[in-house]
Symmetry: C2
Subunit: 663 residues, 2 copies
């Protein structure tokens, strides 16, 4: 988009305004990172004032460019840009940087602040999330060709460049030929602890060329060079681009620039004052924005609003010209899910018994028919996770019409890219790999939870019962570890109905990720009868005791519910009244009212939990005198039936322990 080029003097004042908003914000908070905002102010100003296509008055414009500050510690730069650009982020919020209930937290949070596209801070995440956004944009474009023309921009730092997730994501971006993606690398040679060359000396540009990027190298303070590079980026379609912007951290701070002292702490009153004097900035007031700078941004905002309005007309025309696409467009914009989805999926579940990964795989096929926004993929284990969507092609380099993303063996990037696809706004993404490798993507799962993103993570091969692959692949702690992340729901279904409910609830859960945990091995058949609504409450009675109050309540999840049933029947034969409760989703059950919980668990009853994993989450449900049967050691390589025997997961072993408990 054409934009007026300001005079060099005005541009300099505008850059200084950015720098001093950041300096003043950090000084006021007495904590924060002024160095990056100062060093990156030049190229950020050029990008935002002349290239970035967005509408500060309507951050939901579908055809807006996405800007991601991957180096989230430089948050005051982003807040200053948002403020000046005209977002609903008044200067009072800048003054409350890093304070309780402000919209300017220490690191950007997308669910808090208008215009923040992505929660960043943990390094590498923003870069990888931007790749997911760019992929989503390509997939949207393939579905609605000619409708969109937005791009994705990300400001990335040395720290991002070192993180493995960034390597993974950049490799994927190059592979997929995401020509709509531009990284602006703030190449300042300084890390929090000192000079970059103490810990990194690779040729970043050459590395990205090896991934398939187009790479430009510029002086990150030279506005003409910046504009030339951004012109090239804006015209690029075939390859993602890396612009290496050589900058000086703390640019403008006369004594501290180019040192790590300016990285992670305030300049301090003296250096802040010295910087004001060096750059000819008034000593008062703080948070000063010159009139002509304000006018420059206001004019830009007006131009952008006109652009948005023009696009709305274009959108209406496009939809009129493509009536066959209108329903799909609406469904994807709304990420529409049928009201009775869970019921529909429950009806579609396969009647046979099987591994829950297979049962869930069948449910997923039906879900994909019912939810056009649903797309996803796996980390090269699709044959095992059973998640590839039938009747849809793979997403391949330059070919984005399919729904099956081949993330490659890049679990962490897969997680972040799914976050980016969710943030983009037209997709409900899912990922899939073995449960043990959830460790590799935990950083991304956490950000999905914090950012309140609808992402579904499928994890199969969920316990020692994957068997021969051995303890490197056998999850022991992972179900419990996922349950610990706030705002996550973890489902570990026991049969086809529970698989259907789990997928259904995941697709209905709008503001947080859902972890779906499935078995490699076949599960036992559960008694018919429970309603999907009961399953959706997180726990319910599978087998009710007869002839009096229960002597014991057996609680289980997933493949161990069958074991509970076997044990309950054996206990019954031995004259004990045993109830079996399936608890596929602890978080859901904890959210039920006390009456329901007591109706399921009984009152003052001995309880025994059985789950082939760490027992920590179960103690809260057991009460005094309870027994948690689980795995407190690593597993071993052997066939599943042998492992069941060796680790105490057979019916006779469970019965013996319950009998000993009951006395």
């Amino acid at each position: 988009m054409n934009a007026t080029v300001p005079s060099p003097e005005l541009a300099q004042r505008a850059v200084n305004a950015l720098k001093f908003l950041a300096i003043d914000g950090v000084e006021a908070a007495k904590s924060g990172h002024p160095g990056l905002p100062m060093g990156a102010a030049d190229f950020s100003f050029v990008l935002w004032s002349r290239y970035l296509r967005h509408d500060p008055k309507d951050p939901s414009w579908p055809d807006r460019d996405r800007f991601v500050l991957s180096a989230g510690h430089g948050s005051m730069l982003l807040y200053s840009l948002l403020h000046l650009a005209g977002y609903d982020l008044p200067v009072e919020e800048l003054k409350r940087f890093r304070q309780w209930a402000s919209r300017t937290p220490g690191h950007p949070e997308s669910h808090l602040t208008p215009g923040v596209e992505c929660t960043t801070g943990p390094l590498g995440q923003g870069l990888a999330t931007a790749v997911g956004m760019a992929l989503a944009a390509k997939m949207a474009d393939a579905r609605f060709p000619g409708l969109f023309k937005h791009r994705v921009w990300a400001l990335v730092s040395d720290g991002d460049m070192m993180e493995g997730i960034a390597h993974e994501a950049a490799s994927a971006a190059g592979h997929l030929q995401l020509g709509n993606l531009t990284f602006l690398y703030d190449d300042n040679k300084i890390t929090l602890d000192g000079n970059l060359d103490e810990s990194m000396s690779e040729d970043v540009g050459a590395r990205f060329e090896a991934y398939g990027f187009r790479v430009l190298r510029i002086d990150g303070h030279d506005h003409r060079a910046i504009a030339d590079a951004l012109d090239a980026a804006a015209a690029e379609t075939a390859r993602p681009m890396l612009i290496c912007c050589r900058t000086h951290i703390g640019h403008g701070a006369p004594n501290k620039h180019d040192t790590h002292k300016v990285h992670g702490e305030p300049l301090g009153p003296e250096e802040a004052l010295a910087t004001r004097r060096a750059l000819g900035w008034p000593e008062a007031p703080l948070f000063h924005v010159p009139e002509d700078v304000r006018a420059l941004w206001d004019a830009r905002a007006e131009a952008l609003a006109r652009e948005h309005a023009a696009w709305r007309e274009h959108e209406a025309r496009w939809l009129a010209e493509h009536p066959d696409k209108a329903a799909l467009y609406r469904a994807m914009r709304e990420r529409a899910v049928p009201e009775d989805l869970t019921g529909l999926l429950a009806g579609a579940r396969p009647p046979t018994n099987d591994a829950t990964r297979s049962l869930a795989g069948a449910v997923l096929q039906r879900a994909a028919q019912l939810v056009p926004a649903l797309v996803g993929g796996d980390a090269d284990l699709g044959g095992s996770t059973k998640t590839p969507l039938k009747d849809s092609p793979k997403v391949l380099p330059g070919r984005f019409e399919g729904r099956n993303v081949r993330f490659g063996i890049r679990e962490h990037a897969m997680g972040a890219m799914a976050n980016g696809m969710a943030l983009y706004g037209m997709f409900i993404p899912f990922t899939a790999t073995f449960l043990t490798f959830s460790d590799y993507m935990r950083g991304a799962v956490r950000l999905a939870a914090l950012s309140e993103l609808q992402v579904v993570h499928v994890f199969t091969h969920d316990s020692i019962f994957l068997g021969e692959d051995g303890p490197t692949h056998q999850s022991v702690e992972h179900v419990a570890a996922l349950r610990l992340i706030p705002n996550v729901e973890v489902w570990r279904p026991a049969d086809g109905l529970e698989c259907a409910v789990a997928w259904g609830e995941a697709l209905r859960r709008r503001h947080g990720p859902t972890e779906l945990i499935f078995s490699r091995q076949k599960v036992a058949e559960l008694p018919a009868g429970p309603a999907a609504e009961d399953v959706a409450r997180g726990a319910y009675v599978v087998l009710r005791e007869e002839g009096g109050p229960p002597d014991v309540v057996l609680l289980g999840s997933g493949s161990e519910v069958g074991l509970c049933l076997g044990a309950a029947r054996a206990l019954h034969a031995a004259g004990r009244r045993a109830r079996v409760v399936s608890m596929p989703c602890m978080e859901r059950f904890a959210a039920q009212d006390a009456a329901y919980r007591e109706a399921v668990l009984g009152r003052g009853t001995r309880r025994v939990s059985i789950e082939a994993g760490r027992t920590d989450p179960w103690h809260r449900w057991l009460g005094d005198g309870g027994l948690a049967i689980g795995m407190d050691t690593f597993g071993a390589s052997a066939p599943a039936s042998v492992l069941a025997e060796k680790f105490g997961f057979t019916v006779p072993q469970v019965v013996a322990r319950v009998q000993a408990l009951l006395g």
Copy 2:
């Protein structure tokens, strides 16, 4: 080392022997991965029969080369090599591949099988661990110049190449100029799900050149080309090397080679038979090794044993010539730790109160003086984690005499490299970063635990009370999540004494990792008095109730023990008898006898736990009617004192909840 070059015919038979041992092992187990062993047999044979410097009769030889099979799914290749080379791995073990209590588990486990240098399977870990081994070898060489000449070799796969941890570690290896490290890349273009070019198309060689590697590209089935490349690798000193070996997966299987069908499942009887016929291999017996092949390996083993014996003489001479180094050498070989280390550290702790990261930092300085094997580093947060060792230089490119490793912002590789340094055998490595970024290195922590490695992971900034950086950096679930990993001890000390005990116990714990969790903020002063031995039991009474049995026992860890004390004093003023228990290490306390546990916790007493994190681990200690005070949501960006108020961690708020509980 010179070794006889076998005739092409003998070499072919030897390669076939490797292939069929792997084929037969996988067929017998009815599961496993035959494709990699078949494709990599050629270059593995050349490496092992002519270059690898080791002593199968004594796997502990300090000057042995290290070989890491990063692509651990090809374990039958490694087991076959170990068997033929003469390790204590008889053919019966090959026949029991993937069976209970065999030494041939599905993926290699270093603590189980002689000659397995590294537990591998989760992709990328082996590559990164090998970098740690190579770094350790360089650091050993810098301390004892002229004593060693071993190298590190790793077989890496497409899957390894895609994992972020491998990118991080390769970047670090190139940066550090680890000229003793060679990766043999089994470049077979096939992944478990299909053709590699569906998910990866980068120029791997160019990528590694950008990292600073020397890169060779060869036909991985051409023995002469392989030998030439290995000659070059063996002579290299300045740069790590990548040898791209273009191979064909399942090489020799007439119908399935070069397809993903041969990747992750047995050939099946038909294809196994067809392969026998195609390669002229007897149909019976299975696990056949021709006499001349056996003789080749036996001769090699004898030559290697002589080499080892010669090195032992060299070692004795070297030590005689360097009497000043002898004590250090012995201490590092034994990874010696003073018997009374914990007491010594407790005596050396600083008297002032401070953040536990600072208290522990002072303890660490003393520990480094007492334990010469202790080395470590951080992920560019040393100024915050307080872990850089004084009086020792940084480890920098080509300069390895120091003890302070600059891992860079590469947490996952840091974890795996520390594992490699521990496996190497002369170091006790530690790592350091913020606790929230433990998510980024969980895969490596898990392998340390599974492999029974002595590694110390320091994690600081351990709760919402890091304050302004906000929820992206505030740990809520991480302490609990680390406690879930089997064979891990997690310490969260409350004061200087507990910091000293935690470091002391970590350095005395030989067969598993220890997680040390420290606060950013200052902690309250605890009453003087407890003995280090009591602290070492994992929990102890900090403040005992007076005048009768306790109305309530307050349990806490880390910075919340001070809160427990404040609450107890306020309860006392209100006429309640409250006991305070500090529980710095739950795993330790769980291992105490029931009498000690009861003496600490009381019997039938109301208990309240306070820890600024998820409460799951505490329920087992609370019993009926207990109360767990913690964090079940993400934190927020604000000063710590504000967060304490907002999230209920002030004395009046805790007292109110306890009073309500007691009624």
